[in-house]
Structures are given as structure tokens and as C-alpha cells.
Amino acid sequence: MARVEERIDVGFGPSPAAELSARPRPRGDLARLPWASFFIIVVLVLVAVLAPLIAPHSPTEQSLPDKLRPPAWQEGGSTKHLLGTDVLGRDVLSRIIYGARVSLIVAAAALLAGGGVGLMVGIVSGYLGGRVDSFLMRVVDATLTFPTILIALLLAVSLGQGLQTIAIAITVLIWARFARVVRGEVLAVKTRDFVALARVHGCSHLRIMAIHIVPNVLNTFMVLLTLHIGFVIIVEASLSFLGAGIPPPTPSWGQMVADGRSHIASAWWLSVVPGGAIVLVVLAFNLFGDWLRDWLDPRLRQV
């Protein structure tokens, strides 16, 4: 019983056995790149990496006579403190720059750990199926029902504040999302003929998972990673905002927003600037993630 796949076979790519013509390149791709997102992300990374070099002041250096100065373009501000100072006279710009480090490090650590665990669980669960799969998916379900911030707070309280704690808390929260999505992809890949043929070739299950399954779920995995960066940054900011995050005096954007709360009316820049940074960065990563998904999608279609 033949199922002739109805592809709109318009004659590209397919080439006669004798001549292998190159696939025609689609035109106009360059215009569709998300330049704004790229730019923001690159700037973020550079800022975080080069913080000691570009920050005009130390983020923790207090200078009480300079306290609560507005940003440079406002009356009372000076170019010495481009974005003003906070209640302890610390330079807001420098704190934003160093805060970028915190955000990035936390995001990277949590994503790699959480993503890594999620990927492995998803692969094993999806490929092996049966009881292993059922059990692991119940654990995933349980994890997903936890209220995010509550768990993070609990962990912060019991493990003490610090970078490590936040990273662990976020890992615990996000691995389950990755596991579930990856498992779904694995189920789809598993049914493809090349997996059966790999077994006919004599491949062990481990080899099949490593060489045939993982590379074919990586695209989805990477998109998922980028789409979660925003989430992770916000969780960290929220935790810091609630006082359970990175302990002072290390600057963290969330903490800065919290600190500025009481001065919203008078010294608006204390909360708005770090808040704006969070919005900008999260937006950039989300847009990048969307673009990545769409860009990788037609490639996936080749299969």
C-alpha cells in the first residue's frame, strides 16, 4: 500500500545522478535577520565580559556626598555619573554594567545545568519508553506543578543566599520543561526509518541515542534554551527583588529595582534604569529565540 508523499516537488535540489547541481540560495535572507536583537545581545555579552574595563567607577564604592544624583541629562546631574547615583552614592551605570555579569552568569549556569539535565532525561525517557518513561514523566509532571518563585525562595532560605543557590534553584525549576519537550521530539525521531536501520546496522542503544537521536533534537533544544534565557533572568531578578537572591553589595538588576522602590517618585532612575535593562535584554533574547526557531525550521523540513 503505497503512500506517495505529496510534496510540492518543484524540481530544485533533486539532481540527476550524473550531475550534482548546487541548491539555489534563497534571496533576501539577510534582510530578515533580527539585527536589533543581535546587537543587544552582543552588547550585553561584551559589557559583562569587559565590565572592569568599561565601568567608570567601582559598583560598590560609596560616596555619600554624591547620593541620589539624577542622570547626566537632567538638572543636577553630571557627566561623572551618567546615569546618576543611588542612595549610597554608588554609580548607577557601573552597577548596571556589573549587574549584567550577574544576569549572564546566572542565566548561563542555570540553563546549562537545567538544560543539560532536561536533555538527558528527555532522551532517555523518550528512547527507552515503557516503565522508565512513565516514571520519569511523572517526576516531570510533579516538578512542573511547583510554583516557581515559591520553590526558589524555599531553596534560597534553606541553602543560604548566593550565586550557587540561585543557579540550583533555577536548574530545579527548568529541567522539567526541557525534559518534556525533548522527549516529545525524541518520540518523533524514534519512529524514523534511519533509527531502525541503525539497529539493523548493529548499533547499540547508546550509540543510537548519541549519534542518531541527540543531533536531531538539538535544534529544538537550542531554541528552547534561547527562549528560556529571558525567563531565567526574570527569575533571578525576582528573587533578588524579594531579597532572596544575590546578597549585597554585589549589584543585581533585580535588587536594584527593589532598592529603588522607596524612591520611585523622587529618584525614578534607580528602578527604571535597571528595570529597563531587564526588559530590553529579555525582549532581545525572546526575539532572537523566535527568529532562531523560524530559521532552523525550514532546515528541519528537509528531513
Binding site: A2, R3, V4, E6, I8, V10, G11, S15, R27
Partner: protein, 331 residues
């Protein structure tokens, strides 16, 4: 077959192109044919030749915004469908022309019962109230030989076999008593014994209603059984068309000849099956001259320079090839 039967559908010089990132794909590049009442025309060719696109163009169902009919007419009982508005086309589809597609899995909505889907289709056509529509739906099922239609009405698509689903699809398609039915590979996904049942059913429906059918397929066996006339497509154009018997006995276009020779026969065994080397040309980059030339065993210089005209080769039989000596047309 009565040659004097009235013409129901006439397609004249139809050009339908797809505007893609890679260029303009000339999917249908000058196709003309005539369909008469009670007649079945087979549209044969391999993947990418444009036969499905032709079917979709007739119904104005080209994928938008990339697909467009750029030239030509589609005359349904004299009215040009190309110039109609979308609202007008909605009244035409299902009522005056219908289409059956290849995959019964995706033709039916999995979350609704068969009865619901039939009734919904009928609601577009008849102003009756619900109970009367249900009754019509049962009648429709009966007309496609579905046993125990009252029970089947409550079944979901996944509870039915492929053959049964295709019958339901067929019932929906003919419910509006269309004049033309376009069937695009309707039996490719079915088992061979079920296929025979289904084709026989289609023939019965056609005999009863004097339906004209455009049967799109790549299977010559089906063509031999079902079609009165055949048109062979290659790279967006019809390269040969004629009465089925004439085409099978003496194909005049090298592509038709080569294609038929490359299909293994069940009835006889051969030592070697001749195959056609190479591939069809890419539709976004068509050569000047005959499109089959690179693969043709009779190719001459003239073939590469100029596209051959369509010449008559017998009664109601024509082919687009330079090698043909035209016989006096006798239609």
C-alpha cells in the same frame, strides 16, 4: 462514449505560477483540455509535472499568496472561473465542481463524527432543518455503499478503515450533485482490492449522474480502467492527449512511450525494464525548446532550439513533438 456529449469544463491555455524565494515556478505552463459530460479524462504524469496544480487551479485553490493564475480561462459550463470573486467561487466549490484528495487521513476532521461532517457539508447546499439533513446524510452514505449508515453516522474517522473514509469523502464530494469531480490520486493510499471496489463505485456514481471526472494519477492501470481520454503532462505542459485506447496502442510522444515502457507489467515477464535516465527539468529554470529533449532517445537539434507545436496524430489525438508527421485532423 458519445463524442457529441456537451462540454462541461474547458480549460484554455492555463498558466499558474508559484512566486517563491527561489524564483518563479511555472507549475502549469499552458495547459488546455476539454471535459465532456459523463466522460473521464485522466491527467497522468510524475511528481512535479503540474497535474495536482492543474486540479487546484481549476478550483482556484492554489496556495496563497505564492500561487497565482497568470493567464488562461477555466470555463465551467461557459462561465470563466478565473475571473470570479472568492465569494462566487465558494458557491461553485462543492456544488458545481468537487474534489477528492489522496489522503483520507487528512481529508476528514478527526474530532467530529462522520455524521457531523456530512451534515455540515449538506448544510451548505440544502436549506433543510437538522433532521432532514441527517436523513440526507444517511442517504449519501448509502449511495456510496457504506453498510449500516445509521451507526456509521456516529463513528469518528479513526474508527474507520482507509477505504471507508474515502467513501465518506466521496459522499461529501458528490452530495451537492456537482457536474465535475476532480479526483487527485484518490486510491494511492488504499489497498489494491479496496481500490478496485472504490473505482467501481466511482464509475457507478458517474453512470448514474453523468458526472464528468478529471482523474489525476500516475498509475497507468487505473487510467486504462477508468479513463475515456488521457492527457500526459511533463514539466508543466501536456505533451500528449488522446483517447485511451489510441494512446496505449500507439503512444506518439517519446515521454509517453518511455514512461509506459518503464512500468513493469503483471501480465508478462521481461528480462529487462527500460528506464528513463536523468530527471525532469527544474520548473523555475526551464530550458528553451522541448523540455524532454535531454532525456529523449530521438532528440534532434531542432528539439533543443524550439518547443514543438502540438500536432494532431490521429482522431482526437495530439502530441507535442517534432518527430510527428501530422495527419489530417478529424475530430
Amino acid at each position: 462514449m458519445n463524442a457529441a456529449a456537451p462540454v462541461v469544463l474547458e480549460v484554455k491555455d492555463l498558466h499558474a505560477y508559484l512566486y517563491t524565494r527561489w524564483g518563479v515556478v511555472r507549475a502549469v505552463d499552458g495547459v488546455s483540455f476539454v471535459l465532456r459530460e459523463g466522460e473521464t479524462l485522466g491527467l497522468v504524469g510524475e511528481s512535479g509535472c503540474g497535474k495536482t496544480m492543474t486540479g487546484l487551479s481549476v478550483l482556484r485553490l492554489l496556495p496563497e499568496p505564492a500561487g497565482r493564475i497568470v493567464r488562461g480561462q477555466v470555463l465551467l459550463q461557459g462561465e470563466d472561473l478565473v475571473t470570479k470573486s472568492e465569494a462566487e467561487m465558494r458557491r461553485v466549490r462543492g456544488r458545481r465542481i468537487s474534489m477528492i484528495l489522496q489522503d483520507p487521513q487528512t481529508s476528514l476532521n478527526p474530532v467530529f463524527t462522520i455524521g457531523d461532517q456530512l451534515v455540515e457539508a449538506l448544510r451548505m447546499l440544502y436549506a433543510d432543518a437538522a433532521p432532514a439533513l441527517s436523513h440526507r446524510a444517511e442517504e449519501a452514505l448509502r449511495s456510496v455503499k457504506v453498510a449500516a449508515p445509521e451507526q456509521r453516522m456516529r463513528a469518528y474517522p479513526h474508527q474507520m478503515s482507509g477505504g471507508m473514509k474515502q467513501r465518506v469523502v466521496g459522499a461529501i464530494a458528490v452530495a451537492g450533485e456537482p457536474r465535475v469531480l476532480i479526483a487527485d490520486e484518490p486510491t494511492t493510499a488504499l489497498d489494491v482490492t479496496i481500490q478496485l471496489q472504490y473505482l467501481t463505485l466511482l464509475k457507478e456514481i458517474q453512470a448514474r449522474t453523468r458526472l464528468a471526472m478529471l482523474f489525476i494519477t500516475h498509475d497507468f492501470g487505473i487510467v486504462a480502467r477508468m479513463c475515456d481520454r488521457v492527457a500526459v503532462m511533463y514539466a508543466g505542459r501536456i505533451v500528449e492527449s488522446g483517447p485511451t485506447r489510441a494512446l496505449f496502442r500507439a503512444p506518439r510522444h517519446p515521454y509517453t512511450e518511455a514512461l509506459m515502457a518503464s512500468v513493469p507489467r503483471m501480465e508478462a515477464s521481461v528480462e529487462r525494464l527500460p528506464s528513463i535516465e536523468g530527471q525532469p527539468p527544474p520548473l523555475h529554470d526551464l530550458p528553451v525548446g522541448c523540455r524532454f529533449a535531454p532525456r529523449c532517445r530521438y532528440v534532434e537539434d531542432r528539439c533543443r532550439r524550439e518547443y514543438p507545436p502540438t500536432l494532431p496524430v490521429g482522431p482526437a489525438h495530439e502530441a507535442a513533438c517534432w518527430r510527428v508527421e501530422p495527419s489530417p485532423p478529424s475530430r
